[in-house]
């Protein structure tokens, strides 16, 4: 069995980027995810999994950003949560 052409990337989420003041790490996670979901016209309940990309330590004064925290803030209830290592 091959995975060739079995899966598709169907939407992209962006945020403002560059030097962007007064935003937190979590804030960017939420906007990027929400924008990606909106780009495909999906609903919250369509999201079955949430994988966060490379883990970096939080910025000074911020708490850890975990996939669970991102899901909670977005009102998602994914069955699968994962965090990539850096």
């Amino acid at each position: 069995m091959t995975l060739k052409d079995k899966y598709a990337i169907v939407g992209i989420g962006y945020t403002p980027q560059g030097t962007v003041s007064d935003r937190t790490t979590l804030d960017f996670h939420l906007e990027a995810c929400a924008d990606a979901i909106a780009d495909v016209g999906l609903k919250r309940e369509d999201i079955d999994g949430l994988v966060c990309y490379r883990y970096f330590p939080p910025a000074p004064g911020e708490g850890d950003v975990t996939p669970y925290l991102v899901a909670q803030h977005l009102g998602l209830e994914p069955a699968y949560l994962a965090q990539d290592a850096n």
Binding site: K4, D5, Y14, E31, A36
Partner: protein
Amino acid sequence: MSQVLSRMAGDDAVFGHFGAAAGYALAARRAMHEYNTGPDTWKHIAVGQRKWANLNPRAVMYDRPMTESDYERSPWIVEPFRLADNCLVTDGGRAFILTTAERARDLPHPVVTIMGLGMHNPAADPVAARHLTGPTGARRAGEQAFHMAGITLEDVDACEIYDCFTYTVEITLQDYGFFGPGEGEEWFRGGTIEPGGRTPVNTSGGLLSEAYQMGLTPLTEGVMQLMGRCGDHQLGPATGNIKPEIILCSDNGGILQTHSCCILRRN
């Protein structure tokens, strides 16, 4: 891995050897010793990618053109790397939605599937590594991805390469087989990777000139190009390129210690 990138141990810090820039500079310096490479190769990468960024309003360097003499006047960060050889440091986020190819046909955008995937992680500590001048993990990851996709390099219409430093682009394309060691200077010369070039590379401006969203800068740009959603930097007649069907994307981590290769196709 974050410890690898930021720790200061023993005498390393005294000699300025800490962080990702120094690690990749060590690899690049060794490559200069082993074969023909250096700033004369890397300037084509920095300047070529900047031309793409100048077409992309989302790029941090959108309104900042760069000539070869700008590159040559750019200040040293860690020799042999100048500022222009280093990626940006960027606030921001990026995300994508993944689903089955079947489900994708009912969704609004053109279907872009994952045609090939490969991963190879030569995880030796950089000071003990023999792979920093190639073959890096890109060699075997690329072989796996091309095997799965059932295509060759000639089928690739554009590349979106993880470009933490200019040298990373050279060594990655070299290990994928686009050219042999030391042949990069000739391969890149003459606008190969620029708008209208024969092998467009990092068409958003990449990590060097669009924004540092880690491996999602290259991967999401590959998807958007295949969907035909890239505006003024959309590959096609306006840029003097063919409309792409297959795009090769890469990501790597640590000091060339992890590598993943993803071949995308417009269905």
